[in-house]
């Protein structure tokens, strides 16, 4: 159906809704769809733009245009590519999402190294550090990306991706929580990650050592909080059982 005039323009206004899959059930016996499908042309363009042009030109339309030229594609043939398939005209949002997914997928390279670490906390710190340092090539322009992520129309999508990141990190670190701690861990980690990223924007120390120690402090806070919660719970259950036994013994005395 085609509309003309202002209604028509409203109808075709593109919505930023890239395929951020909510993960759900996973099984090692079944093939998983990759985080980024590199066989797709739009991902090849974004990948070229991200690795070659974003470090110089930032998260801008120009980086994508340069990547298209670099791949020797004709821009006039690509009109539908980012508009129809992904329902988005704003290719910059796609570029930012590419950065987030690319760096998240990158974490799977570090499993062997992380496997040598003893505790869950150490593994969380390790993955967080690797993920933060993956921002380094584009850190100069990262404020552009963050500014777009917090726009109300984009926020939901990017929060989902942030949650996917903290979910991956907790899972890779060997999280075994089965109750509400599952949620609190992931939310706390997402918070720590965002704080560390904001800190990183203003960090001038070489090799970002200040950011890393800031991140370590945030993760330690989470550990302390979890320990405090568990201790209080244990104390409460112990006293509850003692109380019941006290009442029982008094009743038995008659």
């Amino acid at each position: 159906m085609h509309f003309r005039g202002p209604i028509g323009r409203a109808c075709v206004r593109p919505v930023f809704k890239p395929a951020v899959a909510v993960r759900g059930f996973q099984s090692v016996y079944h093939v998983e769809t990759p985080t980024i499908d590199e066989s797709k042309l739009e991902n090849q363009i974004l990948g070229r733009a991200y690795t070659k042009f974003v470090p110089e030109h930032g998260f801008t339309r120009q980086s994508v245009d340069l990547a298209i030229a670099d791949l020797q594609l004709r821009p006039e043939n690509l009109g539908g590519l980012f508009g129809i398939g992904l329902q988005v005209s704003d290719v910059v949002n796609e570029l930012i999402m590419y950065h987030l997914k690319h760096t998240r997928a990158n974490l799977s390279k570090y499993h062997d190294e992380a496997g040598k670490l003893a505790t869950e906390g150490a593994k969380v710190r390790f993955y967080m550090q690797k993920r933060l340092l993956d921002n380094v090539p584009i850190i100069k322009y990262y404020h552009q990306a963050l500014g777009r992520m917090i726009l109300p129309t984009n926020l939901g999508t990017f929060l989902t991706e942030l949650h996917n990141l903290s979910d991956d990190i907790t899972y890779y670190s060997g999280d075994q929580s089965n109750d509400f701690a599952w949620y609190s861990k992931r939310f706390a980690l997402s918070g720590a990650f965002v704080q560390s990223e904001l800190f990183m924007l203003g960090d001038t120390t070489p090799d970002y050592s200040a950011t890393i120690s800031f991140m370590n402090d945030r993760v330690s806070d989470i550990d302390t909080l979890g320990y405090a919660y568990n201790s209080v719970e244990e104390w409460a259950i112990f006293n509850g059982i003692s109380l019941v036994n006290l009442i029982k013994s008094q009743l038995a005395r008659g």
């Binding site: 993960r23 759900g24 059930f25 093939v31 998983e32 499993h111 062997d112 060997g174 109750d179 509400f180």
Partner: protein
Amino acid sequence: MNRLLFKRFQSTHKALSPAQKAYLDRVIRVDQAGELGADLIYAGQYMALSHKPALKPVLKHMWDQEIHHHNTFNRLQVDHRVRPSLLTPAWKAGAFAMGLFTGMLGKEGAMACTEAVETVIGNHYNQQLRVLSNGFQDIEEIGSDTTSDSADIKSLKETIKVFRDEELEHLDTAIEHDSKNARPYWLLTETIKLTCKVAVWTAERI
């Protein structure tokens, strides 16, 4: 299982459809919450009734089986990256309170509670087994045209079958121990059945 994933474990089957994934997600979430509830119902009943020597081993046996079920689904939830129910604290408190309350009504009350709960859970597991055998026939193996259940789906089915049988044993045990003599029998069992059904519906979603 966690380890296997990291070593680029060779998958044997093609991807599950989003609907199948969503269904398995629900199955594991609701069964985990249910077994957590069962575990704590027996904890409450045991606290109220363990002073009766005749009843203690019966309750203890059923409770131990529920603990095993609970641990099994906890492991499945972690391995398959399923989100646990958000209302877990509520399930904990509610189930323990239900066990304690029915236990304080006496032996018959506790057994009527077991009867009601296990009736609902038996039907619930049967329903899941029906869907798992009807809705998962189209998963192709990699490198051949045949369809089959992957090892994970097969073991999930087996687990649910075994657990269903054990829950129905508890139902028989409850009836043997005079659950029908509880007063008010109808009100008690129907209220608990309704509560369980509402909890199942909620835990599947939230």
